[in-house]
Symmetry: C2
Subunit: 433 residues, 2 copies
């Protein structure tokens, strides 16, 4: 684990080394992904089946085998034990209730001359949800991606999930049933993204693709962006915990490790101005690691990418937090509300010592798909707003066209666009002197 | 111009040929852009100045010369003739008034056990606006990109505009002054995008880059996406006019050409079920072309990419419009309101014969930065919502953490994430039997 101290003259360099990296430009991955995307675009199902066999070890007798039938989803749901099923359904219900607050309405207004202006908001018609498969197949991810689409009113939700060697995760299928997914295909990787973007004989083309994935999935999403919409490019998960010592060190250690156990390149950062508290948390992490199932992963993440930052005071803690722009920010402090005005960048803010990230990951209601890698500076949690599109509405009255037409004509002539000017001028009936 | 008829057996193929193309994957441009982006990222101002000299023929004595001082903006504004200035200011005011309707408020709610959930909405801190220079330098584009950022409350709006051989467009600078742009740099192309994304010694790094540009600009934006936010990738402009014959053919001809005059690859499509009306519009376009200043551009656009689609009826007109998902859709019909429920995909809908696209391009108020190339299926006009970011707020009470913690623990264990389970379990005080 990296120990930083804002009082060190070298702090800025160390901080950048910790925080900055640029996963944007990997030429080799890009070349391989481009081949896959082109092949699926050009050869459809045939290419999709080949890649599924090559990368997932799943051979299909026909293209129809790429789809997991609806009955399998219902079966999976019925196969859960009652407590598990209830937990999943309770989580879904809370997520749905929270996301309903994100719906927005079309609006319009009229001007004195009868001209009407507005904006219409409609759900997307068809979206694709990428769900990682294999060891990291998470039912919570299905809920978090599909429910906002469902709340937005999307007509058709298509899920893709790789099933390596045919291994199907019944929790994931059950979650798809609960979240209102319409169709599920057992494909993954760049080939699944390409299939959703371009459509194949079997997989329908969608309007937008969302959901997390590895570097191949992320690169493919970036490549098809424009052809379809995509959500943000997800990077490794991060947590930043600011503590004033209100919470027991052990709680905070588990919070830090709940991030670290995701991935060896996940990042957990702990910030405080209290040296004794910092030491206590560092010990608690070591102790927790000694009993943790996923210690090999979490330990490596904490050792390589984890950090403890000793700051001078609360103001510096906020400054560092804003520069990190963490995906998850825990304000493990006594008076979290008073901190909010100083926190500008964070995907989700967990306020107070009872609000650990794990609650948000599963059941609190807000989305767990959050901007990573500092992108909380400019992007937002996945939400209902990601599954709608807006159209401007412009209905000029004859009188409105007369007035506005003269203004538009003048500006168009200033830009040298005479057809624009003529188009506006046609509608001018009573020219101002 | 292409003539299509939905009654032809070959219609679908012809329609796809007209409509579908994939500008996404151009390896050669990508390679050149990558070099430029890497150079600016790694060498900052030095590389930026070299590229500006090479591509724009503008040599600078020092990096400071890359900035156009604020006084130059004010001077440009004062140099406009009064009527021109008034038109620009009136347009700005209308755009501002419209966009104020797009602001949204933070929200939160409390649950019975004291747990509070919500979402906070804040403006982005610093954004970059790309404005094309040279022959296609449009002040209206400055207003349309900067005003939504200003209405959102963005603290610093940075504009980049190439000034080939030092040629500055004073309209563009005046528009920057009106629209509240804070700083302007005379750089363009992929190098300007890289400078905004990574920052140089002179150009500050921004959180998001918006604005139209050529294939190099678009490719660079796609490349830095993730490092910074970007708006949609703009393609060539399109208009689709559906007419029931209510408007004079001449009006519609100018409307079609107002799109065609933008660019040789702009696309104008006319749809009707009335053969005589179609013929009249086609003749009117030919006649209008004979007097149009930009006839070489507009003529080529109309000849190569323009189209007239004869449909059977209104239902088919809507079906084609939804498949095109046009940037601009004119419903030149007597009862546009009754059409709206059947129109699902369009960037902006111009309702009725008085509502020509040119009004929307300049003065009506809605944004003229609109989804192109069919992306209206999943994306929206540029708006205030593009200049804000959201943070989820999760404040669990002790009682809430007790209930939610038990649920989260169960789900986390189902996913094999034991640190998540422990983190939630810490906060459980009163375990359900």
């Amino acid at each position: 684990m990296n120990r930083l101290d804002t009082r060190d003259s070298d702090f800025t360099r160390q901080f950048h080394a910790l925080h900055d990296w640029d996963a944007n430009l990997d030429d080799q991955v890009e070349g391989r992904v481009r081949e896959i995307v082109h092949a699926v675009r050009d050869r459809g199902d045939a290419a999709l089946r080949e890649f599924t066999e090559r990368f997932d070890g799943l051979s299909t007798a026909s293209a129809a085998d790429l789809e997991i039938p609806r009955t399998a989803l219902e079966q999976a749901l019925n196969s859960l034990e009652p407590l598990q099923r209830a937990a999943l359904e309770e989580a879904a219900q809370r997520i749905r209730a929270y996301h309903k607050h994100q719906r927005s309405e079309s609006w319009s207004f009229s001007e004195d001359d009868g001209t009407r202006l507005g904006q219409r908001i409609l759900p997307l018609s068809r979206v694709g949800i990428y769900v990682p498969g294999g060891k990291a197949a998470y039912p919570s991810s299905v809920l978090m991606n599909a429910i906002p689409a469902q709340v937005a009113g999307v007509q058709e939700i298509i899920m893709v999930v790789p099933t390596p060697k045919g291994q199907v995760n019944s929790w994931v299928l059950a979650a798809a049933a609960i979240a209102g997914v319409h169709r599920v295909f057992c494909v993954g990787g760049a080939q699944a993204v390409a299939a959703l973007a371009y459509g194949t004989e079997t997989v329908p083309a969608v309007d937008k693709i969302v959901g997390p994935g590895n570097i191949y999935v992320a690169t493919a999403k970036r490549m098809v962006f424009g052809r379809v919409g995509i959500d943000m490019i997800a990077g490794p998960s991060e947590i930043l915990v600011i503590s004033d010592g209100s919470a027991p060190a052990e709680w905070l250690a588990w919070d830090l490790l709940s991030q670290a156990e995701h991935d060896e390149i996940a990042q957990s950062i702990f910030i405080s101005w209290d040296d004794a508290h910092i030491d206590a948390v560092v010990s608690a992490v070591d102790q927790a690691l000694s009993v943790l199932d996923r210690a090999p992963i979490a330990g490596k993440s904490w050792a390589d990418r984890g950090a403890v930052i000793r700051v001078r005071d609360r103001a510096e803690a906020c400054e560092v937090a804003n520069r990190v722009a963490a995906e998850h920010l825990e304000l493990a402090v006594a008076d979290p509300e008073s901190w909010l005005p100083d926190i500008h960048n964070a995907g989700a803010i967990f306020m107070g010592i009872h609000s650990c990230e794990a609650l948000g990951d599963y059941v609190a209601g807000p989305n767990h798909v959050l901007p990573t890698g500092g992108s909380a500076r400019f992007s937002s949690p996945l939400g209902v707003y990601d599954f709608v599109k807006r159209s401007s509405l412009i209905q000029a009255s004859a009188a409105g066209a007369n007035t506005l037409g003269q203004l538009a004509e003048r500006l168009a002539l200033g830009e040298g666009l005479t057809a624009h000017a003529r188009s506006a001028a046609c509608r001018v009936t009573d020219r101002q002197k």
